[in-house]
């Protein structure tokens, strides 16, 4: 059973790299959704077949949310805004993938250094840290607002995997509150993206540069 879980971990890491090189928005949305589903399956695979009903139901809920609801919201946002199909990276794909690999190497090292409780499945901690890093990469180096939300979702995936790695059992109510928050966050961001597209005629966030302390003042001084 643990072999299957390890293969899932490998799959999740490969999905990170695919997210880093994928140039098409819809592919990115699908990849993030698949990653969410893989993360949701992880406890079932690692648990060794003995699962209580509650955990089962919760995993099913997670998979439904991340595999169906989020991608649906994202696709809807994309269609409503009529965004172009490419993700507009600010750095090249080879550098993205190298950064991702470097992050995985660094997280492997970090994972071996952290005195975390041993968690049966190898590489789950590095995989989660690398996923979180990939999310940050998507947020910082992609210009479109949708991709930034996608990055947020990937970070959330990573944190979820991290929680699995540490076996931190939260009460159900807390888990649900967290999920509800994430759901509402994606929902609100989707609405915001819609407004951005109407207001700015596009959703490139690097055009958002009006609010800053560094613009030229009329007097000519650089304040």
């Amino acid at each position: 059973m643990s072999t299957l879980a390890e293969l899932t971990i490998v799959f999740i890491i490969l999905l990170n790299l695919a997210l880093a090189v994928s140039g098409s928005m819809s592919v990115c949305i699908r990849l993030a959704a698949i990653q969410g589903v893989a993360a949701g399956l992880l406890p079932l695979l690692a648990g060794g077949g003995v699962m209580r009903g509650r955990a089962m139901a919760f995993a099913a809920f997670i998979i439904l949310l991340k595999g169906a609801v989020f991608p649906w919201l994202m696709f809807r946002a994309r269609e409503k805004t009529g965004a172009r199909r490419d993700v507009d990276p600010l750095i090249g794909y080879p550098s993205s993938i190298m950064l991702c690999l470097g992050a995985f190497a660094a997280s492997s090292w970090l994972g071996s250094r952290l005195p975390l409780p041993h968690s049966g499945v190898a590489f789950i901690v590095p995989a989660s840290l690398a996923t979180i890093f990939t999310g940050f990469l998507l947020i910082t180096t992609r210009a479109k607002a949708i991709t930034q939300v996608l990055g947020y979702l990937v970070i959330e995936n990573g944190i979820y995997i991290f929680g699995l790695a540490l076996f931190v059992e939260q009460p159900l109510m807390v888990e649900l509150a967290i999920l509800l928050d994430v759901f509402v966050a994606v929902f609100v961001m989707g609405i915001a993206i819609f407004h951005i597209s109407r207001e700015f005629d596009h959703i490139d966030t690097d055009q958002m540069d009006e609010l800053t302390d560094w613009h030229q003042s009329e007097e000519g001084g650089n304040i």
């Binding site: 390890e6 293969l7 971990i9 490998v10 890491i13 490969l14 794909y93 690999l101 994972g111 590489f123």
Partner: protein, 305 residues
């Protein structure tokens, strides 16, 4: 008898390897709904080429003649260190995988030099592409073997594959799966198979490997074709040894299983060639980078364990 066995194996490799290309062509023909060439077509070609008189351009030097010979001898040498059906090759020694990589590099180097020696712009273009793709595939190959060495704790290629057991597939499944995938991509790239290069193309502009050997003729071309078949066997054998870790101990049985696996790999290559189109030249590097990434991940998984 035990002393002769490696020699028999070696002879089997040398004799059987052109058959692999025949198999691939058969599979492709089946997909296309044709009857296809005879299985032994490459043997016929080699025989035909061997008694033709080679033609040499006046601008070429000895490099042009040395290229095919060195290329063939390098791969012949490499095959001698390769394990066959769970038996070590007779040239196996500790650290031989580095030696093998350099042998392949030597073959490539002289092929490229011979291509440049003709002074033709097409061949120069092919040489440039060959080297460009090697930049990715060589480190990927090296790291894949390093990961395998790490997984098995052995330093010789034969040792690694002999130490590989069904249990190691259970213990190190992610790394082995990743490096097998990497090896398959490298196989496709190194042997100019479809997603990277089209062996049947007739357009010089899109060729990589074929364009380098346009000027060779007669026995020289036979050496090159034969060398290519041996190279395909070399990479195929690596994959077959990786995915067939169980050894019964019976020479004949293991040998048969191994040859069967080689046939499966040839069929797999034929299938890939039939269902995929050639990638655009600019996308090839991403495929090779994928192989590199697989190898690096396999190594990371193995070292972090």
């Amino acid at each position: 008898m035990e002393i002769i066995k490696p020699l028999i194996q070696y002879l089997a490799v040398i004799i059987l390897s052109p058959l692999l290309l025949g198999l691939i062509n058969r599979v492709k023909a089946k997909f296309a709904g044709r009857r296809g060439q005879p299985l032994l077509q490459l043997y016929f070609d080699l025989y035909k080429l061997s008694y033709k008189t080679p033609v040499y351009s006046r601008t070429t030097t000895w490099l042009f003649r040395a290229g095919p010979v060195i290329g063939l001898s390098a791969i012949l040498c490499a095959l001698a260190a390769l394990p066959f059906a769970g038996r070590p090759g007779f040239l196996a020694f500790d650290g031989d995988f580095i030696f093998l990589i350099y042998l392949l590099g030597l073959g490539r180097f002289f092929t490229v030099l011979a291509a440049l020696d003709t002074g033709s712009s097409f061949e120069g273009m092919g040489a440039s592409r060959e080297v460009q793709f090697a930049v990715f595939s060589e480190p990927a190959f090296f790291l894949a073997l390093a990961a395998l060495s790490k997984a098995t704790g052995k330093l010789s290629l034969s040792g690694m594959f002999l130490a590989l057991e069904p249990a190691s597939w259970q213990a190190a499944a992610p790394a082995l799966l990743l490096l097998t995938a990497a090896l398959f991509i490298i196989l496709l790239a190194e042997n100019s198979r479809v997603p990277v290069d089209d062996p049947n193309t007739h357009l010089e502009l899109t060729m990589i490997h074929e364009v380098m050997v346009l000027d060779h003729s007669g026995p020289d071309l036979a050496y090159i074709l034969y060398g290519a078949a041996l190279k395909l066997w070399f990479f195929g054998a690596l994959i077959a040894s990786a995915v067939l870790p169980r050894h019964s101990g019976s020479w004949l049985y293991d040998g048969a299983a191994f040859l069967g696996m080689m046939a499966v790999i040839a069929a797999a290559i034929g299938t890939v060639e039939s269902v995929m189109a050639r990638l655009r030249m600019i996308k090839v590097q991403y495929l090779l980078m994928g192989a590199l990434v697989f190898s690096i991940l396999a190594l990371l998984f193995q070292t972090g364990r």
